[in-house]
């Protein structure tokens, strides 16, 4: 190492007063430049991705225009393509997944962070991290061999008997379909919600709890009325992480959703999702319009994720007006 490094570089504000050259020599400027490039690469990759999807889907954009979003047909033989059934399937399965996973995940994370002894909490966290690392095809197999038969024999008949008057639980039951895909997705995203929410809850300052207890609240009141609202932003963050995962999940969904591009209010009906149809059909797609329509579906998925993420930001911004200082989530 050179002799220059023996001079300890001074911290940020002071660094600004020195000349560019000396900053360059001492490494500050180089470090700044390199880390800036790393940060910029994220933006660059996103822009390139969208650009590539955009230029590779010229044909269907010109041929179908905005009708692509509302057409219900997907016909590779007569070259007529529409994204609506896939958008519908993607949104419905993700919604079902969150509907099941959010209460479960947040409940579990509250127990682990607030109520369980540290040793239990840490042991369970190990297993939860393990669950999050399981490849999705394993969840798909689990879905086919366990969730599908359970759905056909027990869950669906019970739902039909009790809630059968709702349009969501009508029609024939095959065992595979929107509901099964949603359940499998819920199982997949729960570990994310638990893991992130638990970290956020654990990082709520101790004095918040002590203050609540000192004011005479019970353990549960301090948890539910003080700790959870304090960690709200972080918990919402974990939910949106789960949503992003559910929207883009391919293999597991493909194995249990039924792969029929239908739009039906019934959750028992088979459907299809954007990621699943791309994975299913891309390798054997023949003809430019067909291939490019699949690429445009990729663009639609990107747009969908973008819109939902944007909505998430707005939701966080409006709900965290008061009280929440969890910048480190």
């Amino acid at each position: 190492m050179s002799a220059a490094s023996t001079i300890v570089p001074s911290a940020g504000p002071v660094a600004g007063s020195r000349s560019f050259l000396s900053r360059l020599r001492e490494g500050d400027e180089i470090a700044r430049l390199i880390t800036f490039l790393f940060a910029a690469s994220v933006v660059l990759i996103t822009v390139l991705l969208v650009y590539q999807l955009w230029v590779s889907s010229v044909l269907p954009r010109h041929k179908f225009g905005l009708a692509f979003f509302v057409t219900r047909v997907w016909d590779p033989v007569f070259d007529n393509f529409g994204a609506l059934p896939f958008i519908y399937g993607t949104v419905v399965t993700s919604f079902v997944a969150l509907f099941l996973a959010v209460p479960l995940g947040i409940g579990a994370s509250i127990f682990l962070a607030e109520l369980a002894p540290a040793r239990v909490s840490d042991t369970l966290e190990f297993f939860i991290d393990l669950l999050a690392a399981v490849p999705s095809v394993i969840y798909g197999v689990l879905g086919i061999f366990i969730v599908v038969p359970l759905m056909r024999r027990f869950i669906a008949p019970v739902l039909k008997n009790t809630l059968g008057f709702l349009p969501f639980f009508k029609g024939p039951v095959y065992g595979i379909g929107f509901l099964t895909a949603g359940v499998v997705l819920a199982i997949m995203v729960v570990p994310y919600i638990i893991s992130v929410s638990r970290e956020v809850l654990l990082s709520v300052p101790r004095d918040q709890r002590e203050a609540a207890l000192a004011l005479g609240s019970t353990r549960w009141e301090s948890t539910w009325k003080v700790v959870v609202p304090f960690a709200r932003t972080g918990i919402l963050g974990s939910i949106f992480l789960a949503l992003a995962r559910a929207l883009g999940e391919t293999m597991a969904v493909s194995m249990v959703i039924g792969n029929a591009p239908t739009i039906s209010a019934s959750l028992f009906s088979p459907g299809d999702s954007i990621a699943s149809v791309i994975a299913n059909q891309f390798t054997e797609a023949t003809g430019d319009l067909y291939t490019q329509s699949l690429i445009e579906l990729g663009l639609v998925l990107f747009l969908l994720t973008f819109i939902l993420n944007g909505l998430a930001r707005i939701l966080i911004a409006t709900t965290s007006q008061r009280g929440s200082g969890m910048g480190n989530a």
Partner: protein, 342 residues
């Protein structure tokens, strides 16, 4: 540091020896259906001629056609013949044509799971088309029961199952249905994936067979090889001579023999619904796609030598892997066509 350099040099040296041993390497890409056969052939051929190493990526027929057109591989492979537009695109890009060479044959069989029915079912073309069009919805429909007089079929709803991924199997199945039903031809048509009027999709042969096994009163279609290897029940199908034929290697080869008489010069022929009393009607060739001109003479000679071997000795390996071999008439025509590769 010295040790690392030493190891690196040793690795490079070793790699050099390995590479130097294979001066000629050919790459191919395409159909997944004949992949087990092709990988067996390529490894056997490498044993015979260690100077030639053939690498094959089973990325699907569509990918095979794309890659051979792009010129990123030495040859492609496909379960469905290239369309006229695709051939023209190739011709426009390269200035010469791409040729089809049939390698082996496969069949597609209807498989089913009906509680209480263990016997083998007989399917008429009308019944299969009706079921897949969604017009025949119950197992005790007369179109299904009339040829199956000994079997009592329940009045349950039929659950139709098809492939969700694009595949050559679907191409053969829909090609057959298009030939036997004009309504299917007009409404649905044939392709590696289609707009199915009814049913659920399973990914791959294993996805379809899994759904059929799990779902009571369902019907699906899988490759013959897959059904044989997994001892699944499958039905016989009435051919154009009016005989119910169960698919096996002999009946599939027989379908090809019937078509061999009026085989077009470019081998792009569909042999579904073939004539002949013993012909199984849902059969198809699978093809290698070989450019008619190679800029590299050594590659050209290697490809030609391989195809020649594949058509002669190579055909002896087919039945062990449950592929139907080519009829003699087709082999003779292919050897003739091979001469036009320059």
């Amino acid at each position: 540091m010295k040790r690392i350099t030493g190891i690196l040099l040793a690795v490079l040296g070793f790699a050099g020896i390995v590479w130097a041993d294979n001066p000629l390497s050919l790459t191919g890409a395409g159909a997944t259906f004949p992949y087990p056969m092709y990988s067996k052939w390529f490894s056997e051929y490498h044993k015979k001629d260690p100077n030639i190493q053939i690498n094959y990526q089973s990325i699907g027929s569509g990918g095979g056609i794309r890659q051979v057109t792009e010129g990123t591989v030495d040859f492609g492979a496909s379960d469905g013949p290239m369309t006229d537009e695709q051939l023209k695109a190739y011709q426009d890009k390269h200035g010469f044509a791409v040729l089809h060479f049939p390698t082996v044959l496969g069949g597609v069989v209807p498989t089913y799971n009906i509680p209480g029915v263990s016997g083998e079912l007989k399917f008429t073309p009308e019944a299969l088309a009706g079921i897949y069009l969604g017009k025949i919805t119950k197992w005790n429909d007369p179109a299904i029961t009339s040829p199956n007089s000994g079997v009592t079929l329940p009045g349950d709803d039929i659950v139709v199952i098809h492939r969700s991924d694009g595949s050559g199997t679907t191409y053969i199945w829909t090609d057959y249905l298009s030939k036997v039903s004009s309504e299917w031809k007009d409404k649905v048509g044939k392709n590696t994936s289609v707009n199915w009027p009814v049913g659920l999709g399973g990914k791959g042969n294993e996805g379809v067979s899994g759904l059929v096994k799990q779902t009571p009163s369902s019907v699906g279609y899988v490759e013959l090889i897959y059904a044989v290897q997994n001892s699944m029940p499958y039905g016989s199908v009435k051919n154009s001579s009016g005989v119910f034929v169960k698919a096996d290697l002999a009946s599939v080869t027989s379908a090809a023999a019937g078509a061999a008489k009026n085989m077009p010069a470019d081998f792009r022929v569909s042999i579904t619904d073939a004539s002949g009393k013993t012909a199984y009607p849902i059969s198809s060739f699978t093809w290698l796609l070989i450019p008619s001109k190679f800029p590299d003479a050594s590659k050209r000679d290697a490809v030609k030598a391989f195809v020649k071997w594949m058509l002669a000795d190579g055909q002896n390996y087919t039945e062990a892997l449950s592929y139907a071999k080519l009829p003699k008439e087709v082999v003779a025509k292919e050897l003739e066509a091979l001469n036009s590769v320059q």
